[in-house]
Amino acid sequence: MLIIAGIAVGIGIQVFVGSLITSLQADLVDSTVGSSPHITLLPDDDADFVSGALVGEVSDDPLVTTAIPVRRLSGIYTNGEDSLALSVTAGTSDDLDSIYRLSGRITEGSYRLDMAEILVGIGFSEDADVHAGDQLPLVLPYGTVGEYTVAGVFDLGAAAANDRLAFLDDASGAAALGQGADEYSAIEIQVEDVFASTETADRLAGIDGVSVVDWQDENEELLSGLAAQSGSSLMIQGFVLVAVALGIASTLAISAVQKTRQIGILKAMGMTDGSAGRIFLWQAALLGVAGVLLGIGLGYALIWGFSFAPVDFTVRPQASLILISAAIGIAVALASAIIPSRSTSRLDPIEVIQGA
């Protein structure tokens, strides 16, 4: 039956496009904020530092998954006429790993931050020709020079990060900035749902002496891009559904007209209006279920086919999306049966008998 193929194609596209967009967005968001803070607490204008004691308070928020105290400083590396600026974050190796997930991304040396050790990005490492085990002198904010040992080189997958980011052990950071044990530059936070960060950010804004930075405020373009993409994908899916509905409706309508005579005679033999109407509901349900099952298969096939495409990106089938598509597909099939069911139910057998 052609219409089953039609429904299958519709649902297949639905499943594939939906999964593609969702995966694409998840990937994009993950590479944007997956391994960086979602919310940052900075000292407000009147303060020079934030207290490390706030970490406990922040962690109590049920939506916060990670909160770490860090020190931030800039360092300049000079090599002859070239000078390269680094944005250095200092903290304990465990803390830093919980947000920046560096330990799995070391390409040279190892992930550790013992006294006076530093981790640099692969971009910087190549530009400056500085490698694991090498000494790295950095000019620090107050004009002092810090001598650090490169413990490892990381690759975060983004050129900006690989060129500019560096991570330093906590004690060296404190010394460079002249901060006391409980004094930090910032508290970096990750939350469960990156898109719900604003809610947490608003709550944290109530803490005295800090100003709150939310990743969403700094990535408005990305977010509006994502919203536009979701919107257009929804629109495509909506049109596909409308096409599927029209297909089913026209098939059933034709079938209802063709079967008018037979249904009339069945009614003359005593079929009730209700059972006659249900014929098409059943037919629609059958078409819907068969089409949806085939469509899900087709969607998976497309996703599988896509895995051979020469792109560095995998589409993950979205279970909830598939369930929703299936439910909508069947609901649409049933809805398109309403008109033929009604006309079948209302058909008077005498019309058929007299017309014969």
Binding site: I265, K267, A268, G270, M271, D273
Partner: protein, 237 residues
């Protein structure tokens, strides 16, 4: 003999105002259980109108229909459908078999409509009726592989399946040649005698009507004659 079907002062007006047609005028009669009767009349005289009303396919604009001592005039559509299924067997000029189904599936259609599961009893009855119809061995043949006469006999078999109170037939041999026409009437008569089924058959053929036990004649919507088992005057007389 009690009347199984009674027409009581039936009136039927089609349309309204100037264009209305009075298709039945004060038609009253009763059909006894086991009777083998016919309705005769010219084209347009109101025979089909009458039969459709008696068969609960149509509702009269006046009067009552009483089936098995029950006034059925005021029943709703669903109740009428159930009653048609249980008590009435129809045979029309066209066989109206479902072409995608086999002979036995077509025969058991009324039973299936009633919501009953088809069991051993139904299968036995199908075989018995097919034998009676001279269609033995055709049960599993597809309905559209049969000849016109065979199809009409299957339609008759289908009408018999639910053991109806009465069989209403409207020009049942209108599409058949004279040999097949003979065959069908002989079959009706056999069924009437063997199973005691009541028959009311519409025809415009006086020769055919003469083969029945009672002839009701309709003219311009009026019942003008009701003759039993006797000599019929020649046509036009």
């Amino acid at each position: 003999m009690p009347d199984v079907l009674v027409a009581d002062q039936l009136e039927m007006v089609y349309g309204e105002g100037d264009t209305s047609t009075r298709a039945l005028k004060d038609v009253s009669f009763g059909v006894n259980s086991g009777e083998f009767a016919s309705i005769i009349g010219q084209s347009g005289s109101g025979k089909s109108t009458l039969l459709n009303i008696l068969g609960l396919l149509d509702t009269p604009t006046g009067g009552r229909v009483i089936l098995d001592d029950q006034d059925v005039t005021a029943l709703d559509r669903t109740e009428r459908a159930r009653l048609r299924n249980r008590a009435i067997g129809f045979v029309f000029q066209f066989h109206h078999l479902l072409p995608e189904f086999t002979v036995s599936e077509n025969m058991t259609m009324p039973a299936q409509i009633s919501g009953r599961r088809i069991g051993e009893e139904d299968r036995e009855r199908t075989t018995r009726i097919l034998d009676l119809l001279g269609l033995e061995g055709l049960a599993n043949k597809n309905a559209n592989e049969l000849s016109g006469g065979q199809k009409q006999r299957v339609a008759i078999g289908r009408a018999l399946m639910n053991q109806p109170t009465i069989i209403l037939a409207d020009e049942p041999t209108g599409n058949l040649d004279s040999a097949n026409t003979e065959g069908v009437y002989r079959l009706f008569r056999e069924i009437n005698q063997d199973l005691g089924t009541t028959f009311l058959i519409v025809t415009h053929d006086r020769g055919v009507a003469e083969m029945t036990d009672r002839v009701l004649e309709v003219r311009d919507g009026e019942l003008v004659q009701d003759l039993r088992n006797t000599y019929l005057p020649p046509a036009g007389g």
